[in-house]
Symmetry: D2
């Protein structure tokens, strides 16, 4: 019902100097990363080299009950994954971690991101007799590392040698019998950081909020291009692929990440407030109250309020109980559907001129409904401000943007037309320039491909995720 | 882990002029009332006099899947209930609606509140050979109405005649084969309102947010002492027991109700903001930022900020995925447990003097942990402000307050001692006088018994809910 | 798909001199009685007067997992029930045990059978203000006992005084805080027996096979009209209502009971073999092999074989995995449906003259299909023999016979016509006289109402179970 | 509790000339094969080249509900598998069908049996960079076929070329986008047959009872060494590996297969009866009744009775409801545990000399308990006869025999000692010579390795299944 963005995944890993409840630590870490993927999840554990795993469709709380955690048992290393995907959901082999055996041992791999050369990597392995169980590009990463491992003296060396062959976005944690290896593509499209607990365990996670969840102190982010090796000898870093300017996904700040995370050196909450401030400066509005669309519009609304001096108010209540088991209303009640999930606090907006902040507009239908709810509740004017630039281009690095024919910023000629479509008295987006200032002035560099069509790395012919679904549908020649 | 208050229930009813999806309407209504009770829920429906029901332990989304709704089918009247209770959970007969057959037909009853003469009512019926299937006082209400129905010419008349015998708090919806009857005790301890959909169906609910959820227009609240009869002849009102000054539970504003509801003529959101404003006037603090404990402290924090001029900030992220299936951390990880549910946004509080608003302090342990989190994140000072007066007395009207030996306001001599216990630099509560002004100056009258020990109606010897559990444990004399 | 008979229930109770795993004993007892009812089940337990219960739809193995048994915990008395019913399944209050509180304490009641004056009993209690939660006649038994208990000095005296008011079939176990009471209607329509374990616990059960399941030694059957009281003083018997000639249901031997049970002094297995022997004498056939329809036709086939000298063979394999979760084939595959559940062993019947024994013919459609399977597998002749007389009349005592317009013995003029309908070369039923000799010559007396239309007690105007469904559908007068 | 044998699997496949309910056909086929594996099951389907699959732990009825079948949808080819295994159960990738993508398309493989060179095959593929997701030898079969497919012009040719490299027992069905391929190792250790439905669909199954379940006419068995190719051109056969004398597993007749199946040209039911007849001739006993241990001892008991003239009787009732969800009794009730599953019909054995037939003795503990039950029920003498020779050697071809230190025939010096151990008055086994005559005189040839230690093919050093578990536990070298 709500048109929105989706990201693919969150990853988490623990290495402990002694046998302990590492599976439980991953369980709590995945709870903290659940916002990055709600479709399936899994944990794999190494107990002195014996691997155990549990993976299934569903939220962390559904997939892992006490019995499942007890069956995983204790160990010294564990990795976990939460996943969102629009396709391939019914192939149980697509659920991560990908756990495989190869000539030199076992390996469990968790991946956030999206490759641009997944198909050619896959073909390369298939041509040597390789077989694939699922349709994800993660399996291609695993194959490439294993093929390097045949010659490389260690798994970490195999990873480092495989990285130039793996193109696109990948923030990964990899578990062997004795080591936890974290690595991140040279552009650093997706975040990855690590820390340490008071007991001395090392923790790697997509976001720092997951370090907090297990009581780990944030040490630093894994650098773009870095391979971090955690084992009995401590933490080592292989930086042979580092050095290129980062191109972190801007939507990590705008929408994906949790506001209590620190990414690219900047607080996500502060970045969102900054987006609101930039909007207040660049696109002011005469109004009585500033409200945000929960949850990701709220912080930007606070920033807009503080910059503009217009009071901040709570405009909506979001129903926290509407989840996977919710049955969507039938045709006759469809009209009211949005109200079950999101209800206006009429007292906030009645007879008021309202500034409404949201993080993005995808198709425009949800925005139109929300503006309608405000007018119905008595808002006199609705000035919509969007804390990101307009979407116009596909993402090849792990964000699931709608197809261009559905994107309102592609369909309509200009901002005024969009404002009319959604019924707002005025509409403004964050500029691309301001978007690059979200992390503050000393912040890192970003990918703005979905706004500008300019991508930090070349996009091969065989673009995009659609092709990943092909292998299972391709017909046998004979 | 979090010490907190609980209320018992939410009720919802629909009467439609024609056979339609009334069970589905109740389903959406219960979703909107889920915050009032997460333990069990149920729906009963009348399809031209044939009753069908479905009730179970669990959230609305767990108990009602598509098959359950389809088995309920269509009808013209339906009632539903969400329930919280600390006891009797395993007796399936305690799950409401209570559906019974009697000499004149069938009846389904949903009740929010708590009687003070439940035991004597129960004994009265038992002495005439009555048998009870559960341990709730709701069954006593049903018995009393049925006993009046033997002589009364209609169910509504039986309700009106039963009301003087039923003492305490009750906001009820009752379904017969052809009518929906709503009634509320003469003090109006618990809220109840009604509205109408565009299609002409009447809807009764504990809170107005549930009317919005099904697209019904709010008409008015059911008055304290009123019996509202909805049937083929339209809506009738029996006001013979009306007229007494209301004594609505103050905690409906402070904690229980959803901010988008209107209760006692006042917006719950506005009341919470007002609590913050009163606190800012009565107990100001020199600080750099005002934050609230999610969710019920947030609105008061906005009010405090606006009254004091100190900027409002978001201090915490609450993990929305931690629910019923969450496995609590073991001893070793207990320390970090609070962080999984509630994490600080360090950027908001680092090196700042912080005003922290929460709705109440029960045992004080959670407040101490939260203050600790802020200090650990770098807050320089923490000034805690509570948007309610201190709890010191039991509630007999449906709020599940902790026992007095656990209440910190009973255990410690004064506010300073409590401040020390929780580690705050200063602490202040809302005054009882200000609490009575929460709904604005022209607002309704309230019960403040849990703060003052002064109750609006006499509390019989056989007080409280504990005795309700006795019948099932009492031994047979022989 | 298979037309068949159904009985209503099995009951089980344990009284232990000390606190122990009585719930677990009931659990194993119900497993042994599962064939008497597969729709729902429940256990109630008294732990020093505190009652706990667990009841739900489903098989014993589905309803009771380890957690449910642990929550019931230990106690000194427990009762349980398995239930079959065609109606009222969705009313959770119909699941037994019926656990109620009354003025003198608590009581849990389990009932096998069917009353003939349930409606008038119900009206009697309703006219005094009584309310009913379910639609079973068991609740009327409970009400009647409780109404006597107001004056009676003990529950057992209340039971004895209530029995003349309760007319029809009832074999019951009743638990109070300190006693286990078993009682059986004066006609003894349904079986009930008791025994003792090596540890000294007393066990009451519908069938002796359930005593074996918990290692209890069979003592004797509860007599028709007897009230058996088990408590701290040992076992007492109240025989004031005994003395009338029994009228045990013949179908307990023919179909309902497990062959390893002893009922009315006779082995059920022996009774079934005897049925086959009587058939072989009265209705011989020239044949090469005798086979039975699993499961209840097998024992009679062995008897027929031994009496006739025709070799016994196994004609069918029944698929043991087809259960509640089985999805019935769609229209296109319907033809083969019977084969999934029941497949012919062609080797047994190919080119043979076959005697086929089944326990009964209800509508005739299943028999026709089975005869068809045999012919398809190459049987040259099929001589069907039925180990019961033809059904022609309703049962008012707890057996769920099809309506008369569906019974083939009512629809078709004579046995030859039925033989033609099912495609058999010959057909014969057990005679009513032989049916009375099933338990051997010194056996007890039986009810043959469903064969003869002659019932051992008068059937009131308000006959049968259909009326029990009325209360929930009756409209309110106003 | 019952010591018993286990086999690994059942396989089933359908090829239909048109798009239809092939998944539903497999579902019913797997129901008929459920006795061959109760641990996990799965179905994969080709809908015009698009593969869909559903696999999980559990029985067919648990894993496949209506929603799962609907999501599989219609197609023209489908394969399915039921699996038993003692190890690796928690690795979801071990559940079959194994569905993989390779350079030439997709493939789904189902396998019954056990390889003797699984480890060397696995190493061979790993040394070329291959990765394994599970620990079954089936994945090695898939890899070997795929590696041949790189050069072979078709999948069937790849299968034929792979077969000499795959050593041991395998009866397989394999689905490509357009073909169903069935193949069986050259010794034919495990059964495989095919048939055709009236609508023209071809069906392949482990046992003929599964053909009956979907209404398919039995055509013939797939020959040892044969590759059967079913596609748009009809059915083709590649017999290049045929010709060797078969060595079918004798336990298919004795225990594994359903009595209504025809294997190796002989009825399984007839083979079991024959076992009883051979025993009666070779090891007669003076007795009053012959009984069998359900289920697999029953048919042999009938044969013994007919050969000896001693009457056949039913000695036990097996509780059909004891399944996966059954909670085993605690220590205190352990004594009675066997009675819950298996109860004696005392009437059959009291004061009698009893011949007791069972299919095998593994550890002897269960036999001892059963003999004890009979004596307790009053049997005067118990003469045990076993319808197979004594187990003394491991099986490498898919039967899960206990370890030699547990086998009573290895632990005790002679049959008399075993008879004493189990408490029987006499004991005799089927001779190996008679075992070879189970299928009648013109029957096929058999493997008797578990009785004689003489295996039809050489067993490599790296024997047995235990090594399959190693890859996941092997440590990484670095």
């Amino acid at each position: 019902m709500f048109d929105m963005l989706h990201e693919e995944c969150g990853v988490f890993g623990v290495w402990s100097p002694e046998r302990t409840d590492v599976a439980e630590m991953v369980y709590y870490g995945l709870y903290a990363l659940q916002h990055r993927g709600q479709e399936s999840c899994g944990i794999a554990l190494s107990d002195d080299g014996v691997f155990r795993q549990h993976r299934a469709d569903g939220l962390v709380g559904d997939v892992f009950n006490r019995a499942a955690l007890e069956e995983l048992g204790q160990g010294s290393i564990a990795v976990g994954h939460v996943r969102y995907s629009t396709t391939g959901g019914k192939n149980p082999n697509n659920i991560q971690p990908v756990v495989v055996c190869h000539i030199k041992g076992n390996m469990a791999l968790c991946h956030n991101g999206n490759l641009v050369n997944a198909n050619s990597l896959r073909s390369e392995h298939e041509m040597r007799g390789g077989i694939f169980h699922g349709t994800t590009d993660t399996e291609s990463i695993a194959y490439t590392i294993v093929s390097e491992r045949l010659r490389a003296p260690s798994t970490e060396e195999a990873v480092a040698q495989a990285m130039p062959r793996i193109q696109g976005a990948y923030a990964c944690v990899l578990m062997t019998a004795t080591k936890l290896i974290a690595f991140r593509d040279k552009n650093g499209f997706r975040p990855l950081c690590y820390g340490q607990t008071a007991e001395g365990a090392y923790v790697v996670a997509s976001e720092s909020c997951a370090l907090s969840a297990v009581g780990a102190r944030f040490i630093r982010e894994v650098e773009p291009g870095e391979v971090l090796i955690i084992g009995a000898d401590g933490v080592r870093s292989d930086r042979r692929h580092c050095g290129r300017a980062a191109s972190l996904c801007l939507f990590e700040y705008i929408y994906f990440a949790r506001p209590d995370s620190v990414i690219g050196g900047a607080s996500v909450y502060a970045a969102r407030k900054r987006a609101g401030m930039y909007l207040a400066k660049a696109s002011p509005a005469k109004a009585d109250v500033v409200i945000g669309v929960p949850d990701s519009g709220l912080d930007a609304a606070i920033g807009f309020s503080q910059e503009s001096g217009i009071p901040y108010g709570v405009g909506f209540v979001k129903n926290r109980y509407v989840g996977r088991s919710y049955i969507a209303p039938n045709q006759r009640m469809r009209e009211n559907a949005v109200r079950i999930k999101l209800n206006v606090i009429a007292d906030t907006v009645r007879d008021k001129r309202v500034v409404l902040i949201d993080d993005s507009i995808v198709r425009g239908t949800t925005s139109a409904r929300i503006v309608g709810l405000l007018r119905e509740a008595g808002a006199r004017e609705v000035h919509m401000r969007i804390s990101s630039p307009p979407f116009r281009h596909p993402c090849y690095f792990g964000t699931d943007v709608d197809s261009q024919e559905n994107l309102i910023a592609c369909r309509l000629p200009d901002v005024e037309a969009i404002a009319r479509y959604i019924g707002a008295d005025s509409l403004a987006y964050l500029s691309v320039q301001d978007a690059h200032r979200l992390a503050g002035d000393e912040g890192c560099r970003f990918c703005d491909g979905c706004f500008t069509g300019q991508y930090p790395i070349p996009i091969p012919e065989e673009q995009g995720k659609n092709k990943f679904e092909q292998p299972l549908t391709r017909r046998s020649s004979k």
